[in-house]
Structure formats: structure tokens, C-alpha cells
């Protein structure tokens, strides 16, 4: 189901960094506000990872490991402040002993401080992670709550119209109900017993206005049982005389290209 200006095709190309900059910024903007597209993007990245992992494995040369560990070893030494310099030879033995003892104590103190610092950084990272996860969860819950609230308000509104669309009386025949609120600009479609479609095809919902051509309200694909529900949160506010469902390419068509599978008229 996709009611967005961003198609699944575009998301796949976005995940592969294969889009032009203008498209990238358009999709990035959309992703910030659309949980379902973000989820689909993660799923596409996982699909791409599986493609990458089909690459026959080749071992890197052993020198690559040596080079890497030499570099991180150097970094560790720098983090500890480097190796201590030798004491000056001009001082008496007792002074040298004192210096070495002091240096040893400083080194121990530095080591303890470094360990404490690492522990605190680890705790800080953990706390940031927990905070981030909670914020993300909170945002998702807020979005779900907001959506549910809109649906409820629309279902309870007196001005909301409900139009059942059906092809026939038989129980297993495809049927759908369109719930449309012109004043809220929202359209909800609940369908069942929809026939499964070939790949690259989807159902497209149309608003049939009193005047003018049908207006697309989005495309959807039913689940394995033929059920589908689609919320169009920014439906055009028009005086509708009915609704129709046609079979179209999965990216949607600008105008219906096939006869309606389901159609329903607004009761006069």
C-alpha cells in the first residue's frame, strides 16, 4: 500500500544512492515524516545486504590486519599520553628513585583515570542509547495515537459518509467500504475478498467528483487473505458522487486505465 509521492521504486534507488540530488532531498524530507517508508527503507537495505553477501568471499592479505592493529596500537599509546621520558642523569640516586616513584604513581593514577574515563564514557553512551530508543518509541506511539485519534474523530463525525462498494451479493465477492470526510480531508478504505494481483499491479482508489475526472486517492495491495485498509490523510476536499477501485500499475495511474472492480455511489 502506498499513498505517497514516494514510490517503492524510488526508495530502492534511494537506498542504493542511485538517485539525482533533487530526488534525494525530496525523499529525505518525506522519510522524516513517514514511519512506513522508513520501515520499508530498512527492509530494502536488508535485501541489499543479502545481495552484497552473495559475493564470493576472498580473504584480505595478512598485512591488512597488521596495518590496522599497528594503527589502533599507536592510537592507544597517544590516548595514554605517550611513553615516559627518562629522568635527568645530573640528579643524585635518591632523587632519581623519587622521580621514578613519582612517575610510577603518576602512571598508575593516569591509568586509573583512563579506566574511570572509559567507564564513564561507556555509561554515557549507554544512557544516550536508552534515551534515543525511548524518544524513538515515544515518537512512534505519538504518531500512532494521532492517527487513531483522527480515525476515531472521522468515524464519529455526523458529516462523514460511508459508502459500501460491492460487485455482487455472494459472501466471498470483493467488497469495500469507503469512509470519506470532506471537511476533514480524510478518506478511509476498508476492503475484503479482493483478488490477488500479478506482480507490478495494485488496486487504485478513485474519488468520483460531481464534476470532472476521477481523482486518485492512492494505491493499495491486499494481504494474502484479500483484505486491505488504507487511510488517505490528505484527501482532496471535493463533492463526491461516488468511489471506485480499479486495477492499475503498482506505481499508480494518473487516470483509470481499466474498468472498476468495485464502485459505489454516494446515497442521494
Amino acid at each position: 500500500m502506498n499513498t505517497h509521492e514516494v514510490s517503492a521504486d524510488d526508495l530502492a534507488l534511494f537506498a542504493m544512492h542511485s538517485l539525482e540530488p533533487a530526488d534525494v532531498s525530496r525523499i529525505s524530507g518525506h522519510l522524516g515524516a513517514c514511519i512506513s517508508c522508513r520501515t520499508e527503507l530498512q527492509r530494502i537495505r536488508t535485501d541489499l545486504a543479502a545481495v552484497a553477501l552473495t559475493t564470493p568471499e576472498v580473504a584480505p592479505p595478512p598485512r591488512a590486519r597488521e596495518r590496522l592493529f599497528a594503527e589502533i596500537g599507536e592510537e592507544s599509546i597517544h590516548q595514554l599520553g605517550g611513553s615516559p621520558k627518562p629522568a635527568a642523569a645530573a640528579h643524585p640516586r635518591w632523587w632519581a628513585a623519587t622521580t621514578y616513584t613519582g612517575a610510577l604513581m603518576l602512571a598508575i593514577a593516569a591509568g586509573l583515570l583512563w579506566t574511570e574515563n572509559a567507564r564513564l564514557r561507556f555509561q554515557l553512551t549507554a544512557l544516550r542509547q536508552v534515551l534515543h530508543q525511548e524518544q524513538t518509541q515515544h515518537q512512534q506511539e505519538q504518531a500512532a495515537l494521532e492517527n487513531a485519534s483522527h480515525v476515531l474523530a472521522m468515524l464519529n463525525s455526523r458529516s462523514t459518509m460511508r459508502v459500501r462498494m460491492a460487485a455482487g451479493p455472494a459472501k466471498r465477492e470483493p467488497q469495500a467500504e469507503a469512509i470519506y470526510s470532506r471537511e476533514q480531508g480524510r478518506l478511509l478504505l476498508m476492503a475484503s475478498n479482493l483478488r490477488s494481483l500479478p506482480a507490478h499491479k495494485a488496486y487504485q482508489l478513485w474519488i468520483l467528483p460531481m464534476q470532472g475526472a476521477p481523482i486518485s486517492a492512492g494505491v493499495l495491495k491486499p494481504d494474502a487473505k484479500g483484505s486491505a485498509m488504507m487511510m488517505c490523510p490528505q484527501a482532496p476536499a471535493v463533492e463526491a458522487k461516488g468511489f471506485a477501485l480499479t486495477v492499475e500499475p503498482e506505481e499508480g495511474s494518473p487516470a483509470p486505465t481499466s474498468s472498476p472492480v468495485l464502485v459505489g455511489e454516494v446515497p442521494s
Partner: protein, 193 residues
Amino acid sequence: MATAPNSDLQDSRSGAGRSGESDYRLVTRIVHRDEGAFGAIYDRYSRVVYSVALRVVRDAGIAEDILHDIFLNLWRSPQQFDGARGKLAPWLAVIARHRAIDWIRKQHPQEDLSEVQLVADEDLAGEVERKSAIERVRVALNALPEKQRVALELAFFQGLTHADIAAQAGEPLGTIKTRIRSALLSVRRALER
């Protein structure tokens, strides 16, 4: 992320290779600057990163540099790996591909590592499950219609934009987009089987 206090993640089989210790535990130890854990992760996944990078850039020296940079990044910022985002092998494979494509295009990295989020797919997590899943994907890729397979290869492993591919094939942009998407849907079905 490595520091997430989630015992399920810590005890999961994710990436538990021959050493038996999970990726999650090893990355947590790397946060504590544990070079032994870093070495275990390197030994477990350097082949994946190097192979993917080599397939894209086709130059052993460049692939070695990409391998070096990715693991150095993992050592410096292990918290960028989030166990909840996906397992380490698929994550590293995607990062290797992206860095290699960036190199081909002479670009700076296009996104922060922490932005590359994957679904946690159990089929790609453990070594045994991953081998089985990847074999299914390999079969699915071989069974793709030639034009779909070529479009995916050009976009994913050669870094061509869909506009480049359309121009090269002399076909509409929409056709190329659909081919790539269809190929990926076949991959997904193979993973879900």
C-alpha cells in the same frame, strides 16, 4: 547499539561464529577498548567487507584501504553499531558497498554510519542461517530475468544511477526502476522462504 542493556541481544546467536561469542558481546567489549574482541570481529567479518569492496572497486589495494577505514571506524566509534538495527554481517556488507561506491564516484561518504539502519533479520544473523539464506538469494538472483539481473548488478555493484542505466540500455527510466525493484522483491521472497 553495543551498549543497549538488552540481555536478549547479548545472548542471541547473532554472528556467534567459531569463537562462540556473539557479535553483540564482542562489540560491547570493543566499547571498553578490548583489542582481543576487535580482533575476533575482524577475523569474523574482514572477508565480507574486503570481498564486497573488491567486487565494486576491482582493485585489491583500494579494497584494502576501504577495509582498513571501515574497521578503524568500528574501533573508534563502536557505538555506531546498534544491535537492534540489524546484525553486523549484513550491516558491514552494506557499509562496504556504500564506501566502495563513494570511492568510485570520488565522493565523501554519503551518509553517517549510524543512519544506515537495517531490519534485524534472523536469517542473516547466525553463521549457519546466513549461509542458507544467502544460498537461497544466490539461486533467486540466478533465476532472475537477464534484464532485471543486469539492472541490479549495474546499480548495486557498479554504482550507476538509474538514469545512467536507462541511457546505456536505451530504455525508459520507469522501466529500469521497475526492473531493479522487481529484482529486489525476488530477493526478499527468497529471504522470507
